[in-house]
Symmetry: C2
Subunit: 306 residues, 2 copies
């Protein structure tokens, strides 16, 4: 491992308060966290938003890490500036360089204890496969969505999001804290194994690959004319069947799921009724479930970073 | 009923979005709501906070209705001014006077479909008893808490809060919407019966009478040193026993419930881990469960207002 450090970020969204509360506990009692011998940088992603108990102040920090935004000096939103600061400090060419970023999030969706991976970088897939082998965590593989870009971990050589829910915004839940710590320790154990050249990956990695998102039905003025159907609430990772109730109108009628002709296998829903995604026009996202053989190069790519 | 109107308020807290969404649906299709023949005023309590998706901007609107705040022209917080506007418009001496206020709230606590009554005004107790007879709703009777005053419905001759949960802040949930509408229609049916002189109350009203609140254990700097214990999450209305786990520390230890010597029967918890109450220093409140005989004067007091 040498000088390499692992960046662990909490409160990239200021109203996701479980991970920052854990940071306080770990700082007061470092023995509480099993770091697997790694040197960690624990960093609050958006301290101003955390103080305000809001997801963000000017702009979603976890959509600010595009080269375009980072490199455009005319963009002065507070979160864009914070993104630049984080890269300047902890980025691979920063003053305290970190090779891997682990970004700790929570969600109002019933995602359970899960991982979000962006794209198909071999080192990320090694990390996800190692964590899935340890804890069986489901993986949401986000790619090819032009409307959602600029995620924090994409600016580090490797990294992923640990996403735990359901928990309301602004709330600390002991169960969510325990799941967050379990997943983080599995990540650190995987990284330590890779650094020591002893990471053994399972035969396959199961991923839920992003296909697209569905918005609520909206009236002409943009107002949602329906809500998520009660039968869909908290049913993340449960595949949809044609005709399943999807949206509920106040008159009791419902709109039903019809498979996308261009992606009929994209039946696995994630981020169902996430409170923060209303403004993004996302009621849920749909994935294909795929099993990929783990390639030998994945573990090597991760080890090379550490 | 004559000219008397019933004020129905949604989004007194701007991040409680189920009732305001229902308002939009009812305005588009008035037949969706059974008003029991009553003239309703549907009003958004805090439109600016609703637009910002925040509980409040300057100050909790539902703590602004004290005579002191309303009458002090030096207090210029936006919510204090909004409280004055609401009283000036819909108060008993307002331009569009309403006799009864029904304030629709949601909570991150598992309160189910419930009522909050402030004090012991006979007309309020009649309304609560009528709704409990119709739907069996539990009643939280809030009184004698000097730290929490200035609730909206206290400034109307009669009124109560319909409190539904659990639901995250900022989210519309079909189940929460249906429960909210059920409770509101039970309130309107009760009021219509009272106005027609045909309100028959049950023999008794079960109330959970406020005794006090417990805060999280806090470190010297005010930081919570523990979280709510997982065994307490979503266990509103379930009585505590001496020794039950109450708070959970990150090292796995717990603090246990010990009955208050001055209120050993105050074992019924409400508003457990409500996200908005962290800043108020309330992890949960404790109540005694009491059954009060319904008095004949209650229904008469309510009828006299209508």
């Amino acid at each position: 491992m040498g000088q390499s450090r692992v960046l662990v970020v909490a409160a990239t969204h200021g109203n996701e308060r479980n991970a920052p509360w854990l940071f306080q506990q770990w700082r007061a009692q470092p023995a509480l966290l099993n770091t697997a011998g790694l040197a960690l940088q624990l960093e609050i992603g958006n301290p101003d938003a955390l103080a305000a108990n809001r997801r963000y102040l000017d702009r979603d920090l976890n959509r600010c890490f595009t080269p375009e935004l980072l490199g455009d000096p005319s963009r002065r939103e507070r979160e864009v500036q914070r993104a630049r600061d984080l890269v300047a400090t902890y980025g691979p060419n920063g003053t305290t360089p970190c090779a891997v970023a682990l970004d700790l999030h929570s969600t109002t969706s019933a995602m359970g204890n899960s991982l979000v991976v962006y794209g198909r970088r071999p080192a990320d897939l090694a990390l996800a496969a190692g964590m899935q082998a340890r804890l069986g965590l489901p993986v949401y593989l986000h790619e090819a969505d032009a409307a959602q870009t600029g995620f924090l971990v994409e600016r580090w050589p490797a990294g992923l999001v640990i996403e735990v829910g359901p928990v309301p915004q602004g709330l600390v839940s002991a169960v969510i804290c325990r799941q967050t710590q379990l997943a983080l320790e599995a990540a650190l154990d995987t990284l330590a194994a890779a650094a020591a050249g002893r990471l053994r990956l399972p035969q396959g990695l199961q991923v839920h690959r992003h296909h697209g998102s569905l918005d609520l039905p909206r009236d002409a003025d943009g107002t949602p004319g329906a809500a998520l159907h009660p039968q869909r609430q908290h049913r993340d990772w449960t595949p949809l069947k044609a005709g399943d109730p999807l949206f509920w109108r106040a008159d009791g009628s419902c709109e039903r799921y019809q498979p996308d002709r261009e992606g009929p296998d994209a039946r696995w829903p994630v981020f169902i009724n996430e409170a923060a995604y209303g403004e993004k026009g996302i009621a849920l996202s749909l994935c294909t479930r795929e099993r990929w053989p783990c390639e030998p190069g994945w573990a090597a790519a991760l080890a090379a970073l550490l």
